[in-house]
């Protein structure tokens, strides 16, 4: 049985993540796992700058570092358990009964890759624990989205249950697949669909029409619109104007290298969006 995994940390997004995962669980009726990763790499490193090594330095250093890790792990473990307890309480309150709590050592990404075979939908908060004022998305979010090949719901706080969603279409084969997948997932069932394309080229608008017909044939109520301007701004403006509760996109169509030079629409929307973002795979 494939699971929904919700990533729980101590961030301000935790409550919203719980609510969103409860909503997902009510939609697709799969077991919900609340996951807390105990990541050692985020802990501060102690340093002693004496630059001196003496008799048995290696053993001594190993002991010291191991002891420090042990002490920190114990605290982190306890803290994590408490977080998971609270999260489980929230989810149960929303009426979800099939809930499991899971703690794993290692970074969040490592844990998720280990669990990937069991994963159907991932729910993750937009911000991590290390809330700086200038941080716009969590430090692990992008790498998680890039590596995990399952549906991913990126949650923003506060969460409210969406009644409609927006699909960004660009005429590419990838986005045609996206339409198909959107029709098939029970997550989007019963929600109003807004099919939107930025830029208008003749050859693309044919594909756009086709996509709209496909959605309609699937029995969805579809609103179509073609926008102009930069992709991220146009999409977000449309979302605000129409009070749409969720954005649906395919994630990262291009390579890291290309993105490094040109920027990525996924990341831009991720940063600016105030509503949850569902990445469909």
């Amino acid at each position: 049985m494939k699971n929904i995994i919700a990533c729980i940390d101590g961030s301000p997004m935790t409550l919203a993540t719980c609510e969103a995962s409860a909503w997902v669980a009510s939609k697709i009726n799969a077991p919900l796992i609340l996951l807390h990763a105990l990541d050692k790499t985020t802990r501060p490193v102690v340093s002693e700058l004496s630059g001196q090594i003496g008799l048995g330095s290696q053993e001594e250093l190993l002991n010291e570092l191991a002891k420090l890790d042990e002490a920190r792990s114990k605290v982190a473990l306890k803290h994590g358990k408490q977080l998971l307890e609270e999260a489980a309480e929230w989810v149960v309150k929303e009426g979800i009964t099939n809930v499991e709590q899971l703690q794993r050592h290692g970074s969040l990404l490592e844990s998720l890759i280990d669990l990937e075979n069991e994963l159907r939908v991932l729910v993750i908060g937009k911000l991590g624990e290390e809330q700086g004022s200038n941080k716009t998305i969590g430090s692990q979010l992008e790498s998680v989205i890039r590596s995990i090949k399952s549906h991913t719901l990126v949650v923003n706080a506060p969460f409210s249950i969406p009644t409609s969603y927006l699909i960004a279409f660009d005429g590419s084969p990838t986005s045609e697949k996206l339409i198909e997948k959107a029709i098939n997932t029970p997550l989007l069932l019963g929600l109003d669909c807004h099919l939107v394309m930025v830029d208008d080229f003749a050859e693309k608008s044919a594909a756009f029409e086709k996509a709209a017909i496909k959605l309609k044939n699937a029995g969805l109520s579809v609103h179509e619109d073609i926008l102009s301007g930069s992709v991220d701004d146009a999409l977000l403006k449309y979302q605000k104007d129409h009070q749409i509760g969720m954005m649906v996109m395919g994630a990262y169509g291009h390579s890291t290298l290309r993105q490094f030079f040109l920027g990525s629409n996924t990341t831009k929307v991720l940063i600016k969006s105030e509503v949850p973002l569902l990445l469909i795979r």
């Binding site: 340093s47 001196q52 250093l61």
Partner: protein
């Protein structure tokens, strides 16, 4: 990749930069000392340390590990430099790098699993002894000033960290170097200084093709040295990587490290530096000082070059005694002192492997030979132990038949014992050999089985083999002759 980039470089900026400074200070004495051992200007070792640590910061497979010009490598270069000169050393360095990259692609890093714990301990101890012995020329035939300064230097290094607050903020080796330099300058003591040992860098390194004839003769000169250097460099790097893995409780990519070391050496050869590898002592200093990421390795190299190029005139004034004190500290810190107390606890075979490794290295000044001997000894001891795990039980049902049950591993080391366990003189009608708990590993063991079967047959005894497992069956079918009549004829005729 993106995630790794962030963790490797950005996760610990402050710790990495501070550790980088401390490590740079620990690298300078070693680079100078071992340039002198190899018989080249200190410049060569310093350029090498700069270029290796900068390149390995990007290419290495173990973040937080320090690589630079090392003693283990310098000791292998001595005769080459003496007989052929510096340009050949640079060519050797480039070829060493090429060989190491090759080793990386052939995934030879995984061969490290054949190097047992006791060989690693022996390697580390031998390395420490070599580093210490390399200091002895500076301590023989000198005035009492040198001894006094070295002793004072060691005193500063080990006692300064006990000072409150300041002791943990300023690296004590740095204090040692500054105090001793100031003392010798102000009292005008006549001792050997770094400036007496050869040229120091006064410019940034430049890219140059080694000035050697490109022909087969050159290749034949440089290849043996390159192989030795490549092996020693990879050995020390793999061992250091394991130590850093343990200390930081993280994992490393050993094959990437092989390729990284190779690239670093190729660059270094072209920049006019000598071949190097990872350093156990300096890597430990780095971890202790809070260095974890690739930034620590990079900053160590960059700080080293800044210090050397801009403080060159001051560097010349450093008395050799100060460097000797720092190097003695590195030797003491590298040596595995617990291995001495462990001698009483460990089995004798383990001790023999460890001590043999140390003794061979100290005698030959070649860590590769020591490790090879250590690995061979360890394998022999292991084969011997496994061969003792074979037993043959026999029980006679009646007077005319007997059943032998073979339990354990039958291979070259246990084959003789296997044959000797059967009583061929006994008069029997039939013999059953139960092999269900035995495993035949090689051709030697199969021919032993043949011998046993044929010998019984010669005495007129009927032999039945039962319970062979799949693997044994396969190898016996392939190499065994006892059920191939024409081969048995040959076997009988031949003996």
């Amino acid at each position: 990749m993106f995630k790794n980039f962030k963790i490797d470089w950005m996760s610990n900026i402050r710790g990495d930069l501070l550790a980088g400074i401390v490590v740079a200070l620990a690298l300078i004495p070693e680079a100078i000392a071992f340039s002198i051992i190899a018989g080249v200007d200190p410049k060569i070792g310093l350029y090498a340390s700069f270029s290796i640590s900068v390149v390995i910061a990007f290419t290495g497979g173990r973040s937080g590990m320090i690589s630079a010009a090392t003693g283990a490598m310098a000791l292998l270069m001595v005769t080459l430099v003496k007989e052929h000169g510096l340009e050949y050393l640079l060519a050797v360095t480039v070829l060493t790098g090429v060989l190491q990259i090759l080793a990386g692609y052939l995934k030879l890093g995984s061969l490290m699993r054949f190097v047992s714990r006791s060989v690693v301990t022996g390697f580390v101890n031998a390395l420490a002894i070599l580093i210490f012995m390399a200091q002895l020329p500076e301590l023989t035939n000198v005035t009492w000033h040198v001894y006094a300064m070295t002793a004072a230097g060691l005193g500063i290094i080990y006692l300064f960290p006990y000072l409150p607050v300041i002791g943990k903020l300023i690296p004590s080796p740095l204090v040692c170097i500054i105090v001793l330099t100031a003392t010798s300058m102000s009292f005008n003591i006549d001792v050997r200084t770094v400036g007496d040992m050869g040229h120091l860098p006064d410019t940034l390194p430049i890219f140059l093709w080694p000035d050697v004839p490109l022909n087969l003769e050159t290749l034949l000169i440089i290849l043996p040295y390159s192989i030795g250097l490549a092996v020693v460099g990879l050995l020390e790097s793999m061992m250091t990587a394991t130590i850093v893995d343990d200390l930081t409780d993280t994992s490393s990519d050993k094959n990437r490290e092989c390729k990284g070391q190779g690239l670093a050496n190729i660059f270094t050869g072209f920049l006019g530096g000598m071949a190097g590898c990872a350093m156990i002592g300096q890597s430990m200093i780095n971890i202790k000082s809070g260095g974890r990421g690739r930034l620590s390795t990079l900053s160590a190299g960059v700080f080293l070059l800044i210090i050397v190029v801009f403080l060159g005139p001051w560097l010349k004034q450093i008395p050799m005694a100060a460097l000797v004190a720092v190097m003695i500290m590195v030797a003491i810190g590298t040596f595995s002192w617990s291995s001495i107390t462990d001698l009483r606890k460990h089995p004798i075979s383990t001790n023999i492997v460890m001590l043999a490794t140390v003794i061979i290295v100290v005698m030959t000044h070649n860590l590769a030979i020591g490790v090879l001997v250590g690995v061979l000894l360890a394998s022999l001891f292991f084969a011997n132990k496994i061969s003792r795990m074979m037993v043959i039980k026999n029980n006679s049902d009646e007077n005319t038949s007997r059943e032998y049950t073979v339990i354990g591993q039958v291979f070259f080391a246990s084959s003789d014992k296997f044959i000797a366990s059967f009583d061929f003189k006994e008069v029997l009608e039939s013999v059953t050999i139960d092999l269900s708990a035995a495993h035949f590993w090689d051709v030697t063991s199969v021919s032993a089985l043949d011998k046993v079967v044929v010998k019984f047959r010669r005495e007129g005894t009927q032999v039945e083999l039962i319970g062979m497992n799949q693997a044994t069956q396969t190898i016996v079918d392939k190499f065994g002759v006892h059920d191939k009549p024409e081969e048995v004829e040959k076997l009988l005729a031949g003996h």
